[in-house]
């Protein structure tokens, strides 16, 4: 009397548990910036339909937060988007694992200088698959300018007092100060010049931004004229949100970054992660992303070639003149980071 019931109960439990386990194995947990390609609903639906995996997105607001999430949730994520300058740190902290690039059919089309970047390859192993690259440059509110400025000095113009915005990020602020004072962002010799530049910028600033949404809202409510912004975000603000935003690559230069996908150590679904990364670097996804939403420049040469001749990401970003002006971010040591943070905090406290 009791036995069959018990058996039935046990069977039901076993089925339930295995169903749960199966479901968990089919999920691909992705960690990325919010609104940055990987969470586009059409892309997620397309990927899920093609592969049968289910995408679960999680987000971060700073590279440090991303590293924190990886450290405090081992085994939770299967794919993580890491700025190449942080790849070294993530690998050294044993947060990511080597990727078998031969399993990614689109890997061969990635520009060789990006794919072979020493920032993403360690001991002959691939730790990051280049996805997109772009600039931290200056974006303007078109309503405030008759013609776009060419110099970074525009941000110090008293005409824009209280209408300038920069990101609340020590490294970005210091590197921006380095460009404004004509220095190499990866080898800042004169820290005092950077400090002086940023100190004189502080009274101009309205507030600090931390996410794309902050920036776009400030423009939508016409509260700012000019500020530092990412090239892909500026493109998105214009294309997707129809805001009067345009990107300026100042004559003094701009900071360039390379974003890449990695697989966290302890991932429970490496096959799913590989499929997702391969989908993300596919020209088909990129073209749809850049035309529908707006995006930075793909690291996949085939993807860029499919863009129209006059597309910003092909014409301007591919321009050799621009290439000469930009400086790619190199990894930063913890000491440098702490020094930058101390400087940034001091600047923020001194405005009081």
């Amino acid at each position: 009397m009791c036995m069959p019931r018990l058996t039935a109960f046990l069977t039901a439990t076993a089925v339930f548990v295995s169903a749960l386990a199966a479901q968990a194995a089919e999920e691909v947990h992705v960690l990325n910036w919010k609104g940055y390609g990987a969470d586009e609903p059409w892309a997620v639906a397309d990927f899920e339909k093609a592969t049968g995996f289910k995408v679960v997105n999680d987000f971060f607001n700073s590279e440090q937060e991303m590293l924190t999430k990886l450290r405090t949730n081992p085994g939770l994520y299967d794919v993580v988007m890491i700025n190449a300058a942080f790849n070294d740190q993530a690998m050294a902290g044993k947060l990511i694992q080597p990727i078998d690039a031969s399993k990614l059919s689109n890997y061969a089309d990635i520009a060789k200088d990006k794919a072979n970047s020493p920032m993403l390859n360690h001991d002959g192993k691939v730790y990051g698959v280049p996805w997109v690259w772009g600039l931290t440059a200056v974006a303007i509110n078109e309503k405030s300018f008759d013609k776009p400025p060419t110099s970074i000095a525009e941000m110090w113009d008293p005409a824009h007092k209280g209408r300038v915005i920069i990101r609340d990020d020590a490294v970005e602020a210091v590197q921006f100060g380095a460009i404004a004072s004509g220095q190499n962002i990866n080898d800042i010799k004169d820290m005092e010049a950077v400090k002086a530049k940023l100190t004189s910028l502080m009274p101009q600033i309205k507030t600090f931004w931390s996410s794309e949404n902050d920036w776009n809202q400030m423009v939508a409510s016409n509260q700012i004229d000019i500020g530092t912004y990412w090239s892909g975000s500026a493109d998105r603000a214009k294309t997707h949100f129809k805001l009067p935003v345009s990107l300026v690559i100042p004559q003094e230069g701009a900071v360039a970054w390379l974003d890449a996908f990695s697989i966290p150590a302890g991932s429970k679904n490496v096959a799913g992660a590989e499929a997702f990364i391969n989908y993300m670097i596919d020209p088909k996804f990129y073209v749809e992303w850049v035309t529908k939403v707006g995006a930075p420049v793909s690291a996949n040469t085939k993807a860029v070639e499919t863009l129209p001749e006059d597309a910003f990401n092909r014409k301007v970003m591919g321009n050799p003149e621009v290439a000469k002006r930009i400086q790619f971010q190199a990894p930063i040591t913890d000491e440098q980071r702490e020094k930058y943070l101390a400087l940034w905090q001091e600047l923020k406290v001194n405005v009081k």
């Binding site: 937060e65 450290r71 507030t207 943070l341």
Partner: protein, 289 residues
């Protein structure tokens, strides 16, 4: 009734144990353990994650004293706490008095509801609503310019006053509630006695009402002062470039630079400072009461 209570307490702790256990279990698991872990972290050079090397150090605490920046910020936060508490008293106490002594029945319930209502909404939503009201071209600016014959420019957003406004709004219900409870408990006949013995309204307020409601005022002030000193969300969103406070720096340590040990040390220094202030203030306030 008093007899029953007395015998109840004489029977000792044992019968009360089943009633106390859930609360203490919860406090142990949810507060005591994480807090002890944080104390531990605050003496470490690095977190013991991903096989990182770490050692014990006092460096996180000495960092507070070696850099003037933290002290400046702590003082700024304490000032913020005092100002917000003061405004809460100025706004909350009269409201509590009206609720307790003037209004009766239905109207009291209605006003009471209006005061508690903000509590039921999410804190972040409240702060973002203020952002819409306070900014240039926002609700306040547009409304005033539509009503007034001359042009004024109101842009309070991203300033110190905006932080004060946001925090006062968030915390004033605490003051109203604590003061209401003590004011309501004051026997009306005491006030009438004072009046009939020739005291002016002001004298009654000063000699009878305020002293008797002092416990509520103190409780409200402590409830407000402590979280405001450590607040980080409101200053960050409403303060703009002037929104750097002690709480935001602690948040940066945890979220932005992943220096939990320093963040924990800074938090415990704040805790110590707040406890010292409350300890110093207690006898003064008790005498005033």
């Amino acid at each position: 009734m008093a007899d029953q209570l007395a015998t109840g307490s004489r029977r000792g702790l044992k019968p009360a144990l089943p009633l106390l256990l859930p609360a203490y279990l919860w406090l142990t698991v949810a507060i005591f353990l994480p807090l002890s872990a944080m104390v531990f972290f605050s003496f470490m050079t690095d977190l013991p994650l991903a096989e990182k090397e770490w050692a014990f150090t006092l460096g996180n605490y000495t960092a507070f004293f070696s850099q003037g920046l933290y002290l400046t910020l702590l003082l700024a936060s304490l000032r913020l706490g005092l100002e917000v508490t003061l405004w809460c008293v100025v706004i909350g106490y009269p409201a509590a008095y009206v609720l307790a002594k003037v209004l009766k029945g239905r109207s009291r319930e209605a006003i009471f509801l209006l005061i508690i209502l903000p509590f039921w909404s999410n804190g972040l939503v409240r702060i973002f609503s203020w952002a819409m009201v306070l900014r240039e071209g926002g609700i306040l600016d547009t409304t005033l310019n539509a009503v007034l014959p001359f042009k004024i420019n109101i842009d309070l957003m991203y300033s110190y006053p905006a932080v004060i406004i946001g925090l006062v709004h968030s915390y004033v219900p605490y003051m109203v509630l604590t003061c209401y409870l003590t004011l309501q408990a004051i026997d009306d006949s005491l006030i009438e006695a004072g009046r009939s013995l020739g005291a002016s309204r002001f004298q009654v307020l000063k000699r009878v009402i305020i002293p008797l409601s002092m416990p509520g005022l103190i409780a409200g002030a402590a409830l407000i002062f402590v979280p405001v000193v450590g607040s980080f969300m409101e200053p960050r969103i409403l303060g703009g470039r002037t929104g750097t406070f002690y709480g935001t720096i602690i948040e940066d340590q945890f979220v932005a630079v992943f220096n939990w040990p320093l963040g924990a040390a800074l938090s415990f220094i704040l805790l110590a400072v707040v406890l010292i202030i409350l300890a110093l203030a207690a006898p003064v306030l008790r005498r005033a009461g």
